[in-house]
Subunit: 255 residues, 2 copies
């Protein structure tokens, strides 16, 4: 297990560059991780790959890194956007952490009619996503957007992007309405998609699910794939993690 | 969305039976959920299906339910056991909640060489699993066992049960050793299993993964299937949820 700290920095990376860390990151590296001058650090900026660096200056309040050599070329993640209705704070945090680990390229909070937690601090979510990115060995951050209403999200839908609609309606029916009536298991839907290449999204509703009006609207759209996630009622955070994992396993970069 | 409370009770259920709730459950129903005499409640005991009941006596400290009629016949979940190395408290709690939602039939804490959190309060985990069972519309509780060492777990392995070995070693290699060298993606392993019927388990290591000795031992066992869960490093809790979801989607009751 590597114990070399791995940090995201927002600066160009090249051999011989010197990076002055922001105060919080310097505090983490020097006072929490207890690294001294000469200690190795791995850094990435989401554009230039991952680099080996060393601590070249360290004090209680500041740190400078000297960039040495590139360890890995830049790589991205598959085009998979997670759109989810914010739930209570700890579960929203969890969704953002897990979406980052599971390789979501973008994270979009969505306000639906039954959404109870409309206040989303995007800067906090971005900080959580950055921490998860450092931990999970990704080379790029997910893009965390400001919340939008479901109506606006669907009206501005990008051409060609398909969306997996996980309707955890909480009604105990064990079936959700797709365009032809009953929704099908997500694995079958993914494996039956004639041309699955290109961009995808996953849409997760709030606790209590989408309302009838929202569901009818979703069902009417050609880019929507309604799916079931088994016979048990899943919480919104469980549904998000499950759908991301299944997508990566079938259409993503897990093979 | 149903707002009828759903409670697990440890008593035989039959038409006309009266159930005196334990003090904590009575407090929850009467003081937290604010139900009064005559209010409907759904109850299950893991054996007799789900029943409609009503509150027949209510005071600040006690409650009695009158059992009316059966709503659903008893059903089980597929034979899927989650064996996991306890991690820090909030993440262990999370694993137990999600394993219950995702239909694990049993939950087995396992002490490995790198396990940092050996103290596991099984009664607390059982309470968490019970709450998740009530919420997720399951009719049976998962069986939560006392922790065992990995050595003991493998020595006493039930005949015929196969185990998915998710080795989140944290070494950033992106490959784990299976019997033939490199482990394969979990989806491929499950879909290639010649006769997948029967019992399965999922084995998740601690943060930092299994050590070399443990991995070599696991690789030597005929009932072990080593799998990869993609190119990113997953936390132990993410790996547990992911593996449970994939198993249910491919071999479980999601189709």
């Amino acid at each position: 297990m590597s114990t070399t700290p791995r940090l995201f920095v927002d600066a160009p990376l090249a051999e011989g560059a010197h990076i002055t860390l922001p105060r919080e990151q310097a505090h983490y590296l020097i006072n929490v991780m207890r690294r001294e001058t000469g200690a190795p650090v791995r850094i990435f900026n989401g554009r230039d790959g991952e680099w080996q660096a060393v601590v070249s200056e360290a004090s209680r309040k500041s740190a400078v890194l000297a960039v040495e050599s590139r360890l890995r070329e830049q790589t991205g993640v598959p085009p998979l956007r997670l759109c989810f209705a914010p739930v209570k704070k700890s579960r929203t945090d969890f969704i953002v952490e897990k979406a980052t680990e599971l390789g979501a390229s973008a994270i979009q909070p969505v306000i639906t009619r039954r959404t109870q937690s409309e206040r989303v601090r995007t800067d906090r979510l971005m900080a959580l996503a950055t921490e998860a990115t450092e931990q999970t060995e990704r080379l790029c951050l997910p893009d965390v957007s400001e919340p939008v209403t479901l109506e606006r999200l669907l009206a501005d839908w990008p051409q060609g992007e398909r969306v997996i609609f996980c309707d955890e309606s909480g009604e105990g029916e064990g079936a959700w309405g797709g365009p032809e009536g009953r929704a099908r298991p997500m694995l079958d839907v993914l494996q039956a998609e004639p041309d699955p290449s290109g961009s995808w999204a996953i849409l997760i509703g709030p606790e209590g699910g989408f309302d009838e009006h929202e569901r009818a609207h979703l069902r009417s759209l050609s880019f929507v794939r309604a799916v079931t996630l088994g016979p048990r009622i899943l919480r919104a955070d469980t549904a998000a993690v499950t759908a991301l994992a299944l997508w990566q396993a079938v259409l993503g970069d897990w093979r």
